[in-house]
Amino acid sequence: MARNRGIALRLSLWILAGITVILSVILTYNYFVSRRIILRNVEKDAENLTSSTVYRIDSVLRTIEKVPKNLAVFMEEFAYQGTDILAVIRTVVENNPEINGVTIAFEPHAYSTNTRTFAPYYFKQNGKMEFTYIPYDYFTSDWYQIARELHAPIWSEPYFDEAAGGIMMAAFSVPFYRWISGERVLAGIVTAVISLDWLTEIIASIKIARTGYGFLISKNGAIITHPDSRLVMNETIFTVAEDRGDQEMREVGRRMIRGESGFVRFTSLFTGKMCWMRYAPLPSNNWSLAVMFPQDEMMSDIADLHRTVLALSVAGFLMLLLMIVWISGSITRPLRALSRAATQIALGDLEARIPDVKTADEVGTLADSFKTMKSSLKQYISELKETTAAKERIESELKIAHDIQMGILPKRFPPFPNRTEFDILAKIEPAREVGGDLYDFFFMDDDHLCFVIGDVSGKGVPASLFMAVTKTMVKAKATKGLSPEKVLTQVNQDLSLDNESMMFVTLFLGILDTGTGEVEYCNAGHNPPLLLSPAGRVLILQPTGGIALGVAEEGVYPSRKVILQKGDSLFVYTDGVTEAMNKREELFSESRLIKELAEMKGKSLQEIVTGVMGKVGSFSAGVPQADDITLMVIRYHGKK
């Protein structure tokens, strides 16, 4: 069933796979590009928001910084009395709403030699102005000592003022100096204390999407404002990083406290969400403001869009799937029916019904072709039956003809068991059922053996008939006392007469005088026989100059004589031997025959015949035999 569905399934799979790839590429590209656009916008927004917030905070800090700085200048430039200082401090605290308190703290014994500490402090508490001299040894307090040791204005780390009701405070301290005998000597520190509530409010007002927020860390990384109040003033960004084993967070924190700014991915300390974080320092005190943009919320629009597009794609995909299945089904359904019909026809059921296909497409054409094929096949098969019957008949007749033809050639060897003067052996190998080669031998009288070998032009049945005629005629004409010349001349005249089929035969006829070994012979256009000496010498018998029989009535056939010595053999053959062809279309050739025969010296006739046949067979191995092959060997022994 699965195999029957082959095309439909493959078509659906390939098309849908292609569509899936295309859709995913488009979707992914779309997602990443829109993400990048949003990210760019977020980064720009973040930069704007951060720098505007930094500016808001810093302008306040700068305003505050001016107060103690001016006071420090005042302390250096003007002569003052104790009460002057108190009045100045009081006025400053009263007139600067953002300042909670101010102290001018003197170095040990710097105010007067008999007071070690002198630090008048005006501060606001619950809306009322309060005054105290700082009661403790303030020289090692951060707000005093750091400005003192650095000789520079400095913002303290923020701290919780428990006395003021748990308000987060920070102090800005400015050292002031006095000229003593030409030397500028540190006289004390002016410090303004401010509440950081306004700072917390500014940063708390930063709201981005649902959960975005801002937070501030001090120079030491202490978390000053943060939506998670548990972190504020208890943790530094580094302790949080340590708690989470987050080395990256620590590195970002280090960049923040170094006063760098940047835009990074950062896990929210509050929601634990992955955020984009923009951070930038407050120029006045190097605290660092960070603004968190929750990644998922920034991306929620594009995520929604992406989801919708994805849903549409899936729906479209399914629709397409149904369509493809339907279309490919409609194409392959008639194909399957045709395939079943073809199988039936192949099994021989020529009556199988070819399904009707109404469509005018390729499948319709295929169905029509099938119908035509079926009827043609039917007709062809019936014709084939008749042809086959005729062929069988001809073949059986040819078989009979072959048997008859072979029957007229002498096939019993040795043919004359009581004659010791010579041995004779012949072999014929027709190329087809019947052939045009012939051979024969018979005694014309007690001492004269006539032997003949011939080759009719053409092949098959006409040649075989002509061969039979020739053989019969030679035997009829070769009567006692006639020379080969006479015999052939007469045979030629008879064959040429009314030779409408224009067939001819090459023929070699020899008459052996068994007493003397003399052979008188006549060659009518036949391959010249070879004379084999017992020593292995091979000689070509002298030609006699006659043409093939049946060509011209007036043809003359002079004869020659040769004497066979004892042990000499005469090898006669048809051109089927020398013109046998191998795969490279080379001929066996007379020279190769001579060479092979030379190597067969001392062999028996049987061995020579079988040997030559074997050589020719192996030479033309793989090539169908083109011509009849006939060999005949006569070996003369002489009288005992």
Partner: protein, 330 residues
């Protein structure tokens, strides 16, 4: 997780059951004052108190809160408002030399955690580099090792009184700061400085090991009930072992204590402190928690006190130290 809870409950039950069994016997009421705020530096005692280990040893211990805002432990001991206190060995010797007859019944911290720390960026990499620099030091009793260190390396330094914060050091107001390894050193790391950016000088590595936190009791009180003192030491050791085993539970306690005292509390910092306390009290190469005070350590500190002019005469070791751990020769 649940398995661990079960295990903890089982341990807890095993600890609690003996209390009920011994509930008949009257518990001895004693008061204990650690020398500083209730941080992980004293985790073992809080653990022993909260997990009923003191009660198991027949003691009903009240732990007072120490720290810069509270009465000094020496005053509390003197006035009888506390029975036991932890003190630095140097403080203990000084007090005895000055006439307060207290005895050391267990030297919990055998190794000094006091150190000097400097920024490599300020060019300080070896003791020699400190020469001519500003060094922040605490009160005189904490300056002994530093001064001996300066003497040893022949350093002239300008000493700046150092407050409890390390901000002066972080802002480069001083080049070298004093720090406790388990406390201020981590505060510095928690302000964004990396260990590889700091050069540290641990006094024990410079032949100046002055053991720190030890357990003290007035000699009269000790003689009155040495068994009770021994129980206190034993239970405290058990408490420390418990605290090291159950770190997170111990940290919960410490955090709770700090919040109760309104001290900025930071769990990561307290975890660091607890882990360093383990390194100091029960280093991984030791299997046994010993609170024995060694005479060599004692005389090293006492001699230094004497030569610094902080004490006039050196108290006898045998009078000063009363081995109560059960590990000693007694």
């Amino acid at each position: 997780m649940i398995k661990r809870r079960l295990l903890q409950s089982a341990v807890l039950a095993a600890v609690l059951i003996p209390i009920w069994v011994h509930a008949e016997a009257p518990l001895k009421k004693v008061v204990f004052i650690p020398q500083w705020v209730p941080q992980a530096q004293f985790a073992g005692y809080y653990f022993a108190a909260e997990q009923g280990i003191y009660r198991k040893h027949g003691l009903d211990v009240t732990i007072l809160s120490g720290g810069p805002q509270r009465l000094p432990p020496l005053d509390l001991l003197r006035e009888g408002k506390a029975d036991f206190a932890t003190l630095w060995l140097s403080t203990g010797i000084q007090a005895r030399a000055q006439g307060l007859n207290l005895v050391n019944i267990g030297q919990v911290l055998p190794r000094s955690a006091l150190m000097l720390v400097a920024k490599k960026a300020r060019g300080i990499r070896s003791p020699r580099d400190i020469n001519g620099k500003k060094v922040g030091l605490w009160a005189p009793i904490f300056q002994l090792q530093a001064r001996a260190f300066f003497k040893k390396y022949d350093l002239k330094v300008s000493i700046i009184p150092q407050p409890y914060s390390v901000n002066l050091f972080l802002r480069d107001g001083v080049d070298v700061a004093s720090a406790m390894w388990y406390n201020e050193y981590h505060t510095i790391l928690a302000a964004g400085l990396n260990p590889e950016e700091l050069t540290t000088f641990f006094f024990p590595e410079h032949g100046l090991n002055f053991p720190e936190d030890g357990l003290y009791v007035l000699e009269d009180r000790f003689k009155q009930d040495p068994e009770m003192c021994r129980s206190f030491v034993k239970a405290s050791i058990e408490g420390w072992l418990g605290a090291f085993t159950h770190k997170e539970k111990t940290l919960d306690m410490v955090m709770k204590n700090l919040k109760r005292e309104h001290i900025p509390a930071n769990r990561v910092h307290q975890r660091w402190m607890l882990e360093r306390m383990k390194d100091l009290i029960l280093p991984s190469d030791k299997s046994d928690l010993s609170v024995q005070l060694l005479p060599t350590d004692y005389y090293r500190v006492a001699t230094s006190l004497h030569s610094s002019g902080l004490i006039d005469l050196i108290p006898e070791f045998t009078a000063f130290y009363q081995d109560s751990s059960g590990h000693g020769t007694q």
